[in-house]
């Protein structure tokens, strides 16, 4: 417990640093009011708006105002839609978590057996095939794979819808959502599985060279038990590392895919708020993602300790 507490304490300055850096970059971006200006908007109206939004105050005052509000649970309001930022994020969070979560799990479901097979059959034809496929998975740009899938499954075969989460006009039942999910999930899974296979293969290879495995083999307990009992547990460590590295993907990883398939998630929200310079929304999304990254790191540390009793928590 004390260890977890200490880790959280270390994370706080990092988090505050992120928000400051964020705010600074954003202020360099130029005024959100620049978009508002036009022949029909008078200069006076723009100035009144600036005062109302607090844009005339010095930067650090703006920052502390924002931070103060945040501590009271107020994430601010969108400059464009006047909706509370938190409700906008909450609306888009579900679809993203669904899409990326399923892809992450599928990525591991494919990668673990493939990586283990590849490592235990090193330098065989099967190994080369798996490795080449995994390289292909990481090398293919997600938008290109998306286009190919749309071309094949929507244009040529007409099996799957090319975008959105539900069919317009219908409420969207379970199977409707599934049909919309197939292609974006496939694209994300390909890239997750591709990089996971490489990690799992190399960490497995490392473990297979260890002395204790030779001992296990010498005991004659059989190949199956050797791999499943002695290797798997030790291979969990690197798998946890990979998992914690991919947690940030839950928020930012799907921007391109969501854009191509118009999936109503955080990525789409992010793109549109970047385009319209909707600072409070961008700040909200980056803060949320930073929180998730730090939480992911913390989770990894705790899982390490659970899997490997030799790692002591202080």
């Amino acid at each position: 417990m004390r260890y977890i507490f200490k880790r959280i304490l270390i994370a706080i300055p990092v988090l505050i640093g992120i928000t400051m850096l964020d705010y600074l970059i954003m202020s360099l971006a130029g005024s959100p009011l620049a978009m508002m200006q036009g022949p029909r908007v008078s200069q006076a109206a723009v100035e009144a708006k600036a005062i109302q939004l607090g844009l005339t105050q010095p930067l650090y005052v703006q920052y502390f105002t924002w931070l103060g509000q945040l501590l009271h649970g107020n994430w601010g309001y969108s400059i464009k839609t006047y909706q509370p930022v938190w409700s906008m994020i909450a609306q888009n969070l579900g679809p993203t978590l669904l899409l990326v979560g399923v892809s992450l799990i599928l990525g591991f479901v494919i990668a673990i057996p493939a990586g283990v097979y590849s490592a235990t059959h090193q330098y065989t034809k099967g190994d080369y095939t798996v490795v080449t496929l995994s390289f292909l998975g990481t090398s293919i740009p997600s938008f290109f794979l998306s286009l190919i899938l749309v071309y094949v499954f929507t244009v040529l075969l007409g099996w799957l819808p090319s975008g959105g989460m539900t069919t317009l006009g219908t409420g969207g039942d379970f199977w409707d959502v599934v049909r919309h999910m197939v292609m974006p999930t496939a694209v994300l899974t390909a890239s997750f599985a591709g990089s996971n296979i490489r990690y799992i293969r190399s960490s497995f290879l490392e473990i297979l060279q260890q002395d204790y495995l030779r001992t296990a083999k010498a005991k004659g307990i059989g190949r199956f038990l050797t791999i499943n009992k002695h290797t798997m547990r030790n291979a969990m460590l690197p798998i946890i590392t990979v998992l914690s590295m991919q947690v940030p993907m839950l928020i930012g990883g799907a921007v391109v895919v969501e854009q191509v398939f118009s999936w109503p998630g955080l990525g789409l929200l992010t793109m549109s708020s970047i385009m319209t310079r909707d600072y409070p929304v961008i700040m909200g999304v980056s803060l949320l993602s930073a929180l998730i990254v730090l939480a992911g790191n913390l989770l990894a540390d705790i899982l390490y300790a659970m899997v490997d009793p030799t790692i002591q928590l202080h």
Binding site: I25, L28, P141, S142, S289, V293
Partner: protein
């Protein structure tokens, strides 16, 4: 396995020779190296290979591939094959230039952080954590929106975002090298810190840095393509592999004019794939444990 029947002469050969020798054993790595060289050469010699300029309007709108235009023409009548060559140039430039920036920053910060330790290390590593905690694509998109999308800005942005991995790698290596006898000897002999860092420690970490850098090159090329595809990267009329695919978001191009979007996509895959294989071969070649 074959550790013992290795010819004795191999031990005396120079390090580079051994690495080169091991690299050649990685068949995919060698094929990829040849392919990358050929592609780079074609991209560099683009003006001599193609009679057309990359932004010149030379034919009909969206003409299908023919003897005159090998990959057809685009929506405004430019030769797709020519643009593909110039776009490959841009991708390679972005990949290598941004990796050079990222590696330079990462190496310096990693060296300083690992060697001096204490509060310097603390500050540098917290800063690294901060940059790493940003969702990568979000950071790049916001930066691209702020600093006006364009070729050199994309290179700088990717360079300034990709360094944390290098910094961590170098720091880890420095931490272990700092305790070795030859570095300690330097310190005892009163050598200047600059000498110890750059002439003793750095050369011993080059191999892992190089391997890591190849993966950064591949990632940068992919990121540039994604950014340009979203319209936040290299801007038209300059050709980039990503922005050549941009038009495929329209359904008519996607369905009826595959020569406009298939080739750039395939080139991206082959480019990134070959760089990944070269990185893999390098990793095998410089790994001291890997003698088979």
């Amino acid at each position: 396995m074959k550790k013992n029947d290795k010819p004795r002469g191999e031990l005396n050969r120079s390090y580079l020779h051994t690495v080169g020798h091991r690299f050649l054993r990685h068949r995919m790595g060698v094929v990829s190296l040849y392919f990358l060289c050929a592609l780079t050469l074609m991209a560099l010699l683009a003006p001599f290979i193609s009679p057309y300029g990359p932004t010149k309007l030379v034919g009909k709108f969206s003409a299908p591939p023919s003897a005159q235009f090998w990959l057809g023409t685009d929506q405004v009548g430019r030769d797709v094959f020519t643009r593909l060559l110039y776009a490959t140039r841009i991708s390679l430039l972005v990949g290598f230039a941004s990796t050079a920036i990222a590696t330079a920053i990462g190496v310096v910060l990693g060296l300083v952080s690992g060697y001096f330790g204490g509060w310097v290390d603390m500050v540098v590593m917290r800063f690294t954590d901060m940059v790493m905690s940003f969702p990568y694509i979000l950071l790049v998109l916001v930066a691209a929106a702020i600093f006006q999308p364009g070729l050199w800005n994309i290179i700088l942005i990717l360079g300034f975002v990709d360094w944390p991995g290098v910094a961590r790698l170098v720091r880890g290596n420095v931490l272990s090298l700092r305790e070795t006898a030859f570095v300690q000897a330097d310190v005892v002999a009163g050598m200047p810190t600059r000498h110890t860092l750059f002439s003793e420690i750095l050369p011993n970490t080059i191999a892992p840095i190089l391997v890591y850098a190849t993966s950064v090159v591949a990632l940068s090329i992919l990121d540039e393509a994604a950014l340009s595809f979203l319209g936040m990267g290299v801007q038209p009329p300059m050709a980039s592999l990503g922005n050549m695919l941009n038009g495929a978001q329209s359904i008519t191009i996607l369905t009826t004019k595959p020569w406009l979007w298939m080739p750039p996509g395939i080139i991206i895959i082959l480019l990134v794939l070959s760089i990944s294989f070269i990185g893999d071969a390098l990793r095998d070649a410089v790994d001291p444990r890997n003698i088979h």
